[in-house]
């Protein structure tokens, strides 16, 4: 368990609604995430959990409601939005490393282009981060030459290079072979222990138990239940969560 969250919420979603055409994918979402808090979002597929995660840096625009990060309302478009996104790290299910850049360039691109760091400074920091996630030896290779687990760890390093206030993980292990899942979860667990604010959409219940401060259970575009991991896994309140857990925890 990480240190207790405190102070004003770092991320606040209030009355968030989103539609994909007729489909009401997010319905009246209210969620506060405190500084240093690790929130794991779980739920059946189609419950809106990935969409929720993607609204926090406005990769998905919302139709109604308000999202603030560090007290600042998420801008609609343009430079202000880009500036705010720089403070929100994101790790995707499909890694999305830049295919035409080396691993090192993937990690230095943001700091050089957005933070205007010198190439030397950015590379020094990038090598530290690559060492931290255990892929130093691959620095000069291209993404396609790495395993999925390595690529995802590089993606985490790339996000960390921007010194984000909060990290979003959108099903970071769902595209990985089983034997590579743990190497990614280990990096995430250590980040959580160091006090990084994290929103993690995942099916990894072990990670939720180990690292989360709070579990948010979603179904049908709504937040159905919010609880501490132990409470949630041992004594879920809503019938929907009980049903979901009975299906996934039996094997």
């Amino acid at each position: 368990m990480t240190s207790r969250p405190n102070g004003e919420p770092l991320v606040r979603l209030s009355g968030v609604n989103k539609w994909f055409g007729e489909l009401h994918v997010l319905q009246d979402i209210d969620l506060d995430i405190a500084r240093g808090e690790v929130v794991v979002v779980i739920g059946p597929s189609g419950s809106g959990k990935s969409t929720l995660c993607r609204t926090i840096n406005r990769l998905e625009p919302i139709e109604k409601g308000e999202i603030t990060i560090d007290g600042e309302r998420l801008p609609e478009e343009g430079k202000q939005l880009a500036r705010l996104r720089a403070d929100v790290g994101m790790v995707f299910q499909s890694f999305n490393l830049f295919a035409h850049k080396t691993i090192l360039e993937n990690v230095t691109l943001g700091p050089i282009k957005v933070r205007k760091q010198s190439k030397a400074d950015a590379e020094k920091r990038a090598r530290e981060l690559l060492e931290r996630v255990g892929v130093t030896a691959q620095a000069d290779k291209y993404p396609a030459q790495l395993s999925g687990g390595q690529q995802q760890r590089v993606a985490i390093a790339r996000a960390l290079a921007m010194d984000p206030k909060v990290m979003l993980f959108d099903e970071p292990t769902s595209a990985l072979d089983p034997e590579m899942i743990n190497e990614v979860l280990d990096v995430m667990t250590s980040l959580a222990r160091e006090g990084m604010t994290m929103v993690v959409v995942t099916h990894e219940m072990g990670f939720a138990r180990r690292a989360a401060n709070r579990v948010v259970f979603m179904d049908g575009g709504r937040i159905v239940e919010t609880a501490e991991p132990e409470t949630f896994f041992t004594n879920p309140q809503s019938p929907r969560a009980q049903d979901f857990l009975s299906k996934i925890l039996n094997h």
Binding site: N57, L59, E77, G78, K79, A82, R83, L84, R85, A86, D87, V88, G89, M90, F92, S94, N96, L97, F98, A99, H100, L109, G110, K113, V114, Y142, A144, Q145, A155, R158, A159, M162
Partner: protein, 216 residues
């Protein structure tokens, strides 16, 4: 053969005119076409509309008509190009830019959406994510279609001959009148002139294609 030797300065000048027409208008078309492609994928509806209008206009107008308009039509709005060469460059570049744009746009569409998303998530703005992440990858996949556009352009330069530019095709007209008995040789020389431009480009294109290919 002595005929060719005698007329060598003429042939050389005509070849250089064709080559510079192709190169100069090719560079202009590449720049303008890239700008148009960026407009066609931009989040601003007005820019998208403008670029679509441009592409449909020039893609569907015969090149000769574009030449006519720039050579004679614009006089009516009190405009004139400083030289016939520049008129030809403008016509070729404006026309070819529409095809460059469409080739590039197909390349942009072939770049997985996640690449642009990752760039935006890092805090790159639209222009930065386009120029540093999307376009470099798009250019690589469009080397073959851009190669086709380039070869078509090299041959389209021949229309300039009809508008008093002394290129290879104009030379063909001129020598076929003055040296009708050597017509076969004249043809060989002119066709060789075009081949010298297009054949090496086909080779360069295939080399570029292999070099720039990205593994996914």
């Amino acid at each position: 053969m002595s005929f060719l030797a005698e007329n060598f300065p003429l042939i050389r000048d005509a070849f250089l005119t064709t080559l510079s027409l192709a190169v100069v208008s090719g560079i202009c078309a590449l720049l303008l076409g890239t700008l148009l492609a960026a407009m066609r994928v931009s989040p601003v509806p007005a820019l998208r509309g403008l670029a679509t209008f441009y592409v449909e206009l020039f893609r569907n107008t015969p090149l000769t008509v574009v030449f006519f308009f720039l050579a004679f039509g614009i006089v009516y709005i009190d405009l004139q190009f400083p030289s016939r060469f520049l008129t030809a460059v403008a016509a070729l570049a404006l026309y070819t830019a529409a095809f460059v744009c469409e080739a590039l746009r197909s390349g942009i569409n072939a770049v997985p959406a996640g690449q642009a998303e990752a760039a935006r998530a890092l805090g790159l703005d639209f222009r930065q994510s386009l120029t540093t992440v999307v376009l470099p990858q798009a250019f690589r996949t469009v080397v073959p279609p851009l190669g086709n556009v380039w070869i078509a352009l090299a041959k389209n330069t021949s229309i300039a001959a009809g508008f008093a530019v002394a290129d290879l095709t104009a030379l063909l007209q001129r020598l076929s009148n003055s040296a009708a008995d050597e017509l076969a040789l004249v043809f060989v020389a002119v066709v060789a002139g075009y081949l010298v431009i297009t054949l090496p480009s086909a080779y360069v294109i295939s080399v570029l294609e292999r070099r720039l290919a990205i593994v996914r």
